[in-house]
């Protein structure tokens, strides 16, 4: 404990009381930050786990959806041009909400349906059942994508928060030791 860490101080009793108070403050600050950093780390791990699970599921769901497209084309013929031409409004939309964890607000995406299915009668005379299955599969894929997006966003915001809280903690540790 020599060199740069020394604080220049006049050896009086008041100085000692002040130093003790400062030490207490630094220790309390460090404990609070440690708690915050622990909570963030925990949440961080949870999100990471969820992201991995969701991504694996995503692979499966997309594969299934692509295959059901092939099935629908087998029965119904080529309906892609009809579908693309009749696009007007979005049926599935996203709302952004705020979520609070350990004093930090994170955005969360939530999907909701609006309006009726404008492709209800497509494939009326041919391939309607396969088209319905196709619509369901891709709807599932979209919902999963929305979930993945909000997970990745909160993951992305979490990391710098975690790093900054840990660096503040180290600073306060240094000052409490000193």
């Amino acid at each position: 404990m020599s060199g740069k860490d020394r604080i220049e101080i006049f050896p009086s009793r008041m100085a000692q009381t002040i130093m003790k108070a400062r030490l207490k403050g630094a220790q309390t600050g460090r404990n609070l930050l440690k708690k915050k950093s622990d909570a963030l780390t925990l949440r961080f791990r949870q999100i990471l786990k969820k992201i991995i699970e969701t991504k694996m599921l995503m692979g499966e769901v997309m594969r299934e959806a692509a295959f059901s497209l092939a099935e629908a084309k087998f029965t119904a013929g080529d309906f892609s041009t009809t579908v693309i031409q009749n696009v007007n409004r979005a049926q599935v939309k996203i709302r952004a909400k705020k979520d609070n964890v350990a004093g930090v607000t994170l955005p969360v995406f939530e999907h909701y349906h609006e309006g009726t299915d404008s492709y209800e009668l497509t494939g009326l005379a041919r391939g309607g059942e396969q088209l319905a299955k196709l619509k369901r599969n891709y709807a599932k894929a979209v919902e999963l994508l929305v979930e993945l997006a909000s997970l990745q966003l909160s993951f992305g915001l979490n990391v710098p928060l975690l790093i900054s809280s840990q660096s503040w903690m180290r600073e306060s540790e240094k000052s409490s030791i000193g």
Binding site: F67, F74, T75, T82, N86, L121, L124, A125, E129
Partner: protein, 350 residues
């Protein structure tokens, strides 16, 4: 017409009948499909197809080979064959061919109408149109502002005009849902085609009429099935049923009242042809209603070749060729997506 087609059919149509029978003999067999299903990549598939009658049709394609390229090339090939038949035909076979192309024309017209209403460029839609349904007025579609203009200016010259007139008066053309319009046109088309075959008489009527009756009934069943749970009302549904099939009139009336699959099945049980078809739905292979109907269609089309001196061979050949194309595209998709569990769900023809 005299009831002895054998005496004079070959004078006008013998060459073409011989040609179409030769084409039919070159359809892929079960062994070919087994070979194709064992391919690992699309390149393998291309090599296998070279040994069949398809030959080097993919020779000029750049890498990488995709399923849509295969599909486009096959369709071009079918179109070339069909155009050859059509150009060398005489009346009344030429009218028969025109009737055959009407179904593709209906799809193209719906596509063009939709595109014109949304002010899309005509060129991009023309690329997407089915080549068999080409008609000369296609490019002129973008000059129309509303569907009624479109009808008055352009469609009135095509063979589709009587079908439009059947369906509705001009003003309702604007509000009608595009899918309902498509199905109404198809209904008029089927009825006109049926009348033509029946009036022609002879073997053609004996072969084509059952085929068209099945097509009509099949549409009635499928429309009913697909309209469960949608906004389509029962009265609207009934206007879409073609009236030339075995189901007319009692079956169609019962079908219009049906609300789920079991009620539909009970209607089908009254008819000897459809009872076994409905019983095959579900089962061990997980077959859907459409699969069962496709199989039956393939069977009756193959049977059309058992008789001579009629026009049904041309219709049957085109339908079988289309089924073959669908099968090949299905196998190609399973291979390219590496999803081989259902690769054998194609419908074998010969």
């Amino acid at each position: 017409m005299l009831e002895c087609a054998e005496l004079y059919f070959n004078v006008d149509h013998g060459y073409l009948e011989g040609l179409v029978r030769g084409c039919k003999a070159s359809l892929l067999t079960q062994q070919d499909y087994i070979n194709l299903a064992q391919c690992e990549t699309l390149e393998d598939l291309k090599i296998h197809l070279q040994t069949t009658d398809y030959g080097n049709f993919l020779a000029n394609q750049t890498n990488p080979l995709t399923v849509s390229k295969i599909d486009t090339e096959m369709r071009k090939r079918l179109c070339r064959e069909f155009d050859y038949f059509r150009n060398n035909s005489l009346e009344p076979l030429s009218t028969f061919f025109t009737y055959m192309t009407c179904s593709y024309m209906i799809d193209n017209v719906i596509l063009l109408m939709n595109g014109a209403l949304q002010k899309k460029s005509v060129k991009e839609i023309l690329v997407k149109c089915h080549p068999l349904g080409r008609f000369t007025e296609m490019e002129a579609v973008n000059i129309a502002e509303t569907p009624s203009d479109l009808f008055n200016a352009i469609l009135v010259e095509t063979p589709l005009a009587p079908f439009f007139q059947d369906c509705m008066s001009e003003n309702t053309l604007d509000e009608l849902n595009i899918e309902l319009l498509r199905n109404k046109l198809y209904k008029s088309y089927l009825e006109a085609f049926y009348k033509f075959c029946k009036n022609h008489g002879d073997v053609t009527a004996e072969v084509m009429c059952p085929i068209l009756e099945f097509e009509a009934d099949r549409r009635a069943f499928i429309i009913t099935f697909n309209s469960f749970g949608t906004e389509l009302s029962k009265e609207d549904r009934e206007t879409l049923y073609p009236t030339i099939g075995k189901l007319y009139p009692e079956g169609l009336r019962l079908l219009a009242q049906a609300e789920d699959f079991d009620q539909m099945k009970r209607v089908a049980d009254h008819y000897g042809v459809y009872k076994p078809l409905f019983e095959a739905v579900g089962g061990s292979g997980g077959k859907t209603l459409e699969d069962v109907f496709y199989e039956h269609e393939v069977q009756i089309n193959v049977l059309a070749f058992n008789r001579q001196f009629h026009y049904g061979v041309f219709y049957a050949y085109v339908k079988l060729k289309e089924q073959e194309m669908r099968n090949i595209v299905w196998i190609a998709e399973c291979i390219s997506q590496r999803h081989r569990t259902k690769i054998n769900s194609y419908i074998p023809i010969l």
